[in-house]
Symmetry: C2
């Protein structure tokens, strides 16, 4: 599986908005310089018309496909991006950018504030989905690409794709939005708020000023456990774990772990704590909760500027971003006479289906992109 050394991908970095030209964020705060980590796959064609930007989920990164040197696994959307795959790198130039606020190579709360030479911590300004997309447009300009063939993403990435479509309608021909919505419901906000409280309740959090000291590992682990429950469906948890015991023949009658599902949550949350910054979780979850494409107006009006063709995908068992929210997007797009294809994929994997249901999504995306590419007479890179 591991590729030849020459085929390894490397993360790249671009920096913008150095003072005094800081970015003015949606909150009114100024931020700069801003570094974005990004990766690209495939080749840009001559007229720069074959670029696709894929947007990642809350805790993911710019490494969407291929292998890093010495890595144990490929990028997070590798089954979908590569030669002959849905995002076919023989045809398309695929860009994946990390987001501001993250800890995966881009400017975020763990970054050094050049004005103080200290980590930002909670002095980092609250960023929004709009701010993320604004910086990703700066990246596209930096790469000299006037217009995306497609803006595509799932979960938080889906929100970014939708935001791009209404903010930069002239800079995108098509949008693929998977397992996402246009604004968080009370339940989604509540689930994030509990996660934030778990982090901020950890004494090691220390108001966000924990860098170089103990990280709030316990709070972040609890937060991640909540996340994993919401990513799976009741059915997929039941099929995977049921009431299976770990190794004991009998229940332990104590407060160590009895059930495999308990072990799973611990294993997943422990590994998450190793790789992710607690403050970034606070910032990115807040960005998701704040996002409201319609901004208290009507969704149909919010989509009025959009000119792209849309593919809207949801999953039957996804209770974190339920299908009815995707159907609201479809309805608002249709009311604007916008070209929209939509499908609710039958899956028991819950929100995780976005990364698990490869075959169904591959077929959909391949045909959708073929149609867009042919209509726009786009040549391969």
């Amino acid at each position: 599986m591991t590729p030849e050394p020459t085929d390894f991908v490397e993360t790249q970095y671009a920096t913008f908005c150095a003072p005094p030209n800081e970015l003015v964020l949606k909150s009114g705060a100024r931020l700069g310089p801003i570094t974005l980590a990004y990766e690209t796959y495939g080749n840009l064609n001559e007229d720069k018309s074959n670029a696709i930007m894929v947007y990642h989920t809350l805790t993911s990164d710019a490494h969407a496909a291929g292998w890093h040197k010495d890595a144990k696994k490929p990028g997070w959307w590798d089954p979908m991006i590569g030669p002959g795959k849905a995002f076919d790198t023989d045809k398309y130039f695929v860009i994946c950018s990390n987001v501001i606020g993250s800890c995966m190579g881009s400017t975020g709360p763990a970054s050094i504030n050049p004005k103080t030479n200290k980590r930002y911590g909670l002095s980092f300004p609250v960023v929004t989905i709009e701010d993320m997309v604004l910086t990703q447009k700066l990246l596209l300009d930096h790469l000299g690409i006037p217009r995306l063939l497609c803006a595509a993403g799932g979960s938080m990435g889906g929100l970014q794709a939708l935001e791009w479509a209404v903010t930069y309608p002239q800079a995108v021909r098509s949008v693929i939005c998977i397992a996402a919505n246009t604004r968080h419901s009370a339940q989604q906000i509540a689930l994030h708020e509990v996660s934030r409280q778990a982090i901020m309740s950890d004494p090691d959090w220390q108001g966000g000023d924990y860098y170089g000291k103990s990280v709030p590992a316990r709070g972040l682990a609890v937060s991640r456990m909540i996340g994993h429950i919401t990513y799976m469906s009741e059915k997929s948890m039941e099929e995977k774990f049921g009431r299976k015991l770990i190794s004991k023949e009998k229940l332990g009658y104590d407060f160590t772990h009895d059930f495999e599902v308990e072990n799973y949550l611990k294993y997943r949350s422990d590994s998450f704590v190793q790789r992710f910054d607690a403050n970034s979780y606070l910032y990115l979850s807040k960005a998701l909760d704040y996002f409201d494409l319609a901004e208290d107006g009507k969704l149909v009006d919010a989509f009025a500027p959009a000119t792209a063709s849309f593919l809207i995908v949801s999953f039957t068992s996804d209770w974190l971003y339920p299908s009815y929210q995707s159907k609201q997007i479809v309805k608002a797009l249709k009311a604007n006479d916008i070209d929209v294809s939509d499908i609710e994929i039958n899956s028991s994997y819950g929100h995780d289906a976005f990364l698990v249901e490869v075959e169904g999504q591959s077929n959909l995306i391949t045909h959708f992109l073929n149609r867009i590419r042919k209509a726009a007479h786009v040549g391969a890179g």
Copy 2:
């Protein structure tokens, strides 16, 4: 609303199993003496045939109905228990008993271990739903009542009612089981496990030995927030809170609370921390997770000893104890040719519907109990 002083109810206490006659728990551990807090409403008739035992939820108590002196609200099931109500105290003698492991007046981890004169803490043995029911049978014997007209409860109380029906078939004529199941699914275990981890991750928890020191308030609060999300449905949260902001015209762009739903979670969890013991939450959630009426066998076989008539109630929007689990109970009962009535009540209130949907349940329970009472020729107390 507040009653005349003569009408106030008072919690009573009964103690059993003093050494050397300790109770042998399901785990094999011995526990004694055991005190149970309980209340009664109405009058026992001459032939002691009109007694109904109601079982409470995880965090509730023996105070099911009426008013305590100086109380600001009545018992937790007051809309259902009283003269002319579903559990009509003009006809029935209603008993509500707290459970072992709780902190609401019964022997639990916060109790003094008479052998050490110190609080049990985590030296308290892990108790099960079976153990709870066993002690409640001792209470019934103590009251001199040979047979219940009905065993009734919702959520954890529903599990106890079912357990009673198969363990003491000769001591119960009918069972009302609301929003419950016969064993926890992987998702239910996972939700409890995150709650337990939130508590045990709080440094103030100190391995359960926090009595007289700081209680693990932060962990218990996070745990309760998770609980409240699972008690409501997505729809009821949306209808009650949506994206309503607290008091600000705008988003705060900081990590204080912006949304009303965030405030609600904080308010509810803060008040919970004032009244409930964190260790009891660990013990009772574990008892729920351990419960498996079929004990890895077939549910139909597990119900074979039962002779009571059953009323099984569930709610359409309850995702914590989903209706399909109630339907499994009904199916297993019918396979045993047992008299069973079942209804799935249309409600948007989620698991909370058990306490909210008074009218629908009142009608159901009134008619069910009338039928049972008439068939058994039971006179009023």
